[in-house]
Subunit: 190 residues, 2 copies
């Protein structure tokens, strides 16, 4: 946290969320992080280096983010947990916005830069897996493959709704509504 290196990574996340991966300028990053340009090269060898580490950082954060346990709430049903965790991704707070934007950039970048793909696929897989588990807990009668498929659909839907929201094609409230309905629908079948 007080680590300078981590500070740079956080700053990079902010800059990426503001300007996009393509818009990340070393100079602006230095300013945002409150350090000198040289220090960035001191810690990360080159632009590709910070990019790689930042995107890793983002996907780690996204993990924790989702994995965040219930805040001592006793009366939470598995189903409520599921809803809460998924709807977490569609919120207008600086943190979620920043994370979603950066995540979207990561996805978009990976379409053209193959080096990112492995990391991305792994993180995606973990996410899907986590959600599948929550689904299993919420609806124990279903089969594992069915849960996996539902989790893939729900997470892909979230990504789709998320870009639409961030790109101004869909109001947040509406996105949340659509997602809630989708969750209900997925739980209803199996």
């Amino acid at each position: 946290m007080s680590d300078r290196r981590t500070g740079i990574l956080k700053a990079a996340t902010r800059v990426i969320a503001r300007r996009g991966v393509r818009g990340l300028r070393m100079g602006e990053l230095a300013t945002e992080a409150g350090v000198s340009t040289s220090l960035i090269y001191y810690h990360f060898t080159d632009r590709a280096g910070i990019l790689r580490e930042t995107l890793e950082f983002i996907s780690d954060r996204a993990d924790h983010y989702t994995a965040e346990p219930d805040p001592s709430e006793q009366g939470s049903t598995p189903r409520a947990d599921l809803e809460r965790v998924l709807l977490l991704e569609l919120q207008d707070t600086a943190e979620v916005r920043e994370n979603s934007t950066a995540w979207g950039e990561l996805r978009a970048t990976a379409v053209f830069e193959t080096e990112l793909r492995d990391d991305l696929a792994r993180t995606t897989h973990t996410w899907v897996h986590d959600i599948a588990e929550l689904l299993a807990r919420a609806n124990p009668t279903g089969t594992a493959p069915a849960h996996a498929a539902a989790a893939e659909r729900l997470t892909a839907l979230i990504e789709g709704l998320s870009v639409r929201w961030l790109s101004g094609s869909l109001p947040l409230d509406h996105a949340r509504l659509l997602l809630r309905d989708a969750i209900d629908a997925e739980l209803a079948r199996c």
Copy 2:
């Protein structure tokens, strides 16, 4: 069509699909279009200019694409039509790949460039509307709002699956399978 200007826009679409918006180099575009760099500046004032017009061009083309009517097939049920039209977006042909990639870039770019949003929102809305109509035809018992919501979910899902496919997180076959199931599910309720 044979218009030089349009030729440049088409070339730009191809280059964007290949390299991404960030990867669009004026030089490469000129080569791709078979014209001189200067001509691009002659027709479109600057890089931002071609970008703007090309993205507009892409969203126009995306319309036609979906609106493409059934090729004289008589024995098509509304449901089959719907499936066909939606699955059209998840195919490994040069055209679909190019279109999906370019569309994804448009979306990703719009997150940071507000000028693109109106166009994008409009095109998205048209698409959703078209799908809602197909849904209504396939399942006349449902209400209009239900069809609209289902169409929003399905199209957002397609976008989500599409980037995952293009970024190598999801095999195409699997994406198609997931989409098919989602269509069935949406038709089952209402």
